[in-house]
């Protein structure tokens, strides 16, 4: 929905905003890793080698170089699992956020644009969902849907919908009062046209920012569900599941089994947060005239 001119301008200003740019680079690297794991991973991420359980990585000496970040409790290469896990975690994050953004936009725009009883109804619904702690709600939904990565995406998507609906609604409430919306009504434009041509493009900035920040949250929540054994089913490499699988390893002194997946999660979240924060500034039209 961006005009090309505007997209170019956004990209140009992005390079000027240092933290946003760092976030953008981190994200680009992660996406590349997620697209080409088979070229980057030194080993098969699901191949077990019980003889090589909980081996340390490169820091322990030259003889451990084949598994640079060590192995886990089943003797699988941690680096390879992290690399393949990037694909899993990023897709969970993006798909869950895509679901929540679509649902949230639908609810938020309808409720903000039309107002009245529809607004009251939808917003009370959202309030009810807000009343549950997000991870608890996700677990409840997972309990109903059953375990699995796709179900985790849906559950997280639903959990993030109310917040997105609120963000979209509040943005719509501002745009709705603009005179150009009134001008459209005076011209006889249909509601569908006003919403798609005038409301949506103008609320996109906060929605994009919020979606970016939410992606980080969704990755964390997917990891949490994975940690609880509700997300990715073993042996799929997934960062949260890797963390939970390494609980016993931690007590055995194999810190690397839990630390590196944790760092991977941290990097993804940091990158997305930096980008999201930077976009908040970039997409503010007052700062770019």
């Amino acid at each position: 929905m961006f005009a090309p001119k505007e997209a170019r301008e956004t990209l140009r200003t992005l390079t000027k905003n240092r933290s946003a740019f760092i976030g953008f680079i981190i994200l680009v690297i992660m996406i590349m890793v997620a697209i080409f794991p088979h070229y980057l991973a030194p080993h098969d991420p699901v191949k077990r080698n019980l003889a090589q359980r909980l081996q340390p990585g490169f820091w322990a000496g030259k003889e451990f170089a084949p598994f640079p970040l060590g192995t886990d409790y089943l003797g699988r290469c941690i680096l390879s699992r992290i690399i393949w896990g990037t694909r899993t975690s990023l897709s969970v994050g993006f798909i869950a956020v895509a679901i929540s953004t679509l649902l949230g936009l639908l609810l938020g725009v309808l409720s903000g644009y039309f107002g009245g009883w529809l607004d009251t109804l939808l917003m009370r619904l959202v309030d009810i969902m807000f009343a549950f702690p997000s991870i608890l709600l996700a677990i409840t939904i997972m309990a109903a849907l059953g375990p699995g990565l796709e179900k985790a995406m849906i559950a997280i998507g639903i959990v993030y919908t109310p917040q997105m609906a609120r963000v979209a609604r509040s943005a719509v409430l501002v745009i709705r009062e603009m005179e150009y919306i009134e001008a459209e009504k005076a011209l006889g434009a249909s509601h569908a046209r006003i919403i798609s041509h005038h409301v949506l493009p103008n609320i996109l900035a906060p929605v994009i920012v919020y979606a970016t920040l939410n992606t980080a949250g969704a990755i964390l929540d997917a990891a949490a569900l994975g940690f609880l054994g509700l997300g990715a089913l073993p042996p799929t490499p997934e960062w949260g599941a890797m963390l939970s699988g390494s609980r016993q390893a931690l007590t055995a002194g194999a810190w690397w089994a839990a630390t590196f997946p944790g760092i991977a999660i941290m990097c993804a979240v940091l990158g997305l947060n930096l980008l999201g924060d930077g976009m908040r500034d970039l997409l503010d039209p007052r700062l770019r005239v």
Binding site: A3, E182, A183, A186, L187, G188, A189, H197, N202, P285
Partner: protein
């Protein structure tokens, strides 16, 4: 009946009440209250009044941007308030509006060209080349550089933006345009340009204006007739010169005496109004102006005055002129 005096818009007993809920208490705000008047083809009816007197609401009611609570509006003799949204759509072409704020009246994410093209798309012009032609013609008419149309609104100055707003309203060749304070947000030098542009366009495109403003000098410059509103009621309406030289209603008199005269030697008789505007939420008995009127009598707080034609074409609602 010659074309100059034929009635284009007739408004009968028009009222609009807004309901506001505050602390569980429902408050009614009667923004427009039983207004009657006609607008003749080709004229400019100036509508003046203080902020919040209901003049903008009245203008929006005629375009059905705000649905009136009661009353009737006729255009060319047809009651347009009875029409369904679909049946009203052809009338949308004929009834247009120019807004006050040239910054919020243009979508910041559309180019000027897209903004001007949109009315044509909405009204079913499928041929892109014809649309381009018509956008070009209207842009030239309002004095916009055709090459600048690829720019976004924030790349234009306030005056140019207002020209875009005017072009958008006029591209469908409307018959009636509500100008809702179209120059109030502009610099004085630009104001004159836009006013002259509106006057020129009125002549070439045979437009009828309802010109809403709180600025008496602007109203005097552009209007044929002038109507004065106070707290949702129309208090006086007359030909421009008659209203300026022989105002009847005490409110109009006070309003006109507030115009500064750029000559300190001219002795002035100022009518100063006492007190503030009463709360719009509390209905006032009798004449709505009686709380501030310097000439009120015993009947004023009791009975609302009747809107009547005192002299040909000169309407007033005041007990001073009732028999």
């Amino acid at each position: 009946m010659d074309s100059m005096s034929s009635v284009l818009i007739e408004v009968r007993n028009l009222s609009k009440t807004f309901f506001i809920e505050e602390w569980g208490e429902k408050l009614a705000l009667e923004a427009v209250s039983g207004v009657n008047f006609s607008i003749f083809r080709g004229e400019t009816l100036g509508l003046v009044g203080e902020t919040g007197c209901g003049k903008s609401t009245l203008g929006r009611c005629i375009l059905r941007l705000v649905e009136p609570t009661a009353g009737e509006i006729f255009m060319n003799g047809e009651n347009i308030l009875h029409l369904s949204a679909k049946a009203f759509k052809p009338y949308r072409r004929k009834l247009q509006i120019v807004f006050q704020d040239p910054f919020s009246s243009l979508n910041p994410r559309k180019t000027a060209y897209a903004i001007l093209e949109e009315p044509l798309i909405i009204h079913g012009e499928k041929n892109a080349r014809l649309r381009r032609e018509r956008v070009k013609v209207i842009a030239e008419k309002v004095g916009l550089d055709v090459h600048s149309l690829k720019n976004y609104p924030h790349e234009f100055s306030g005056g140019q933006r207002q020209r875009i707003g005017i072009a958008r309203a006029l591209i469908l060749h409307p018959e009636f345009v509500v100008c809702d304070e179209p120059v109030s947000a502009l610099d004085v030098s630009i104001q004159a340009q836009i006013l002259n542009l509106l006057a020129d366009l009125q002549e070439t495109m045979h437009l009828t204006y309802l010109f809403i403003s709180h600025d008496l000098s602007v109203i005097r410059h552009i209007s044929t007739r002038i109507a004065v509103m106070y707290m949702g009621k129309m208090v006086e309406m007359a030909e421009k010169e008659e209203l300026f030289h022989a105002p009847l209603h005490p409110y109009t008199q006070a309003l006109l005496s507030a115009i500064p005269i750029p000559d300190p030697t001219v002795p002035r008789q100022r009518t100063l109004l006492e007190g503030d505007l009463p709360s719009p939420f509390k209905p006032i008995s009798g004449c709505r102006f009686h709380t501030r009127c310097p000439q009120q009598s015993a009947t004023c707080p009791e009975i609302p005055p009747v809107w009547q034609e005192i002299r040909p074409g000169h309407f007033v609602a005041c007990h001073l002129y009732e028999k």
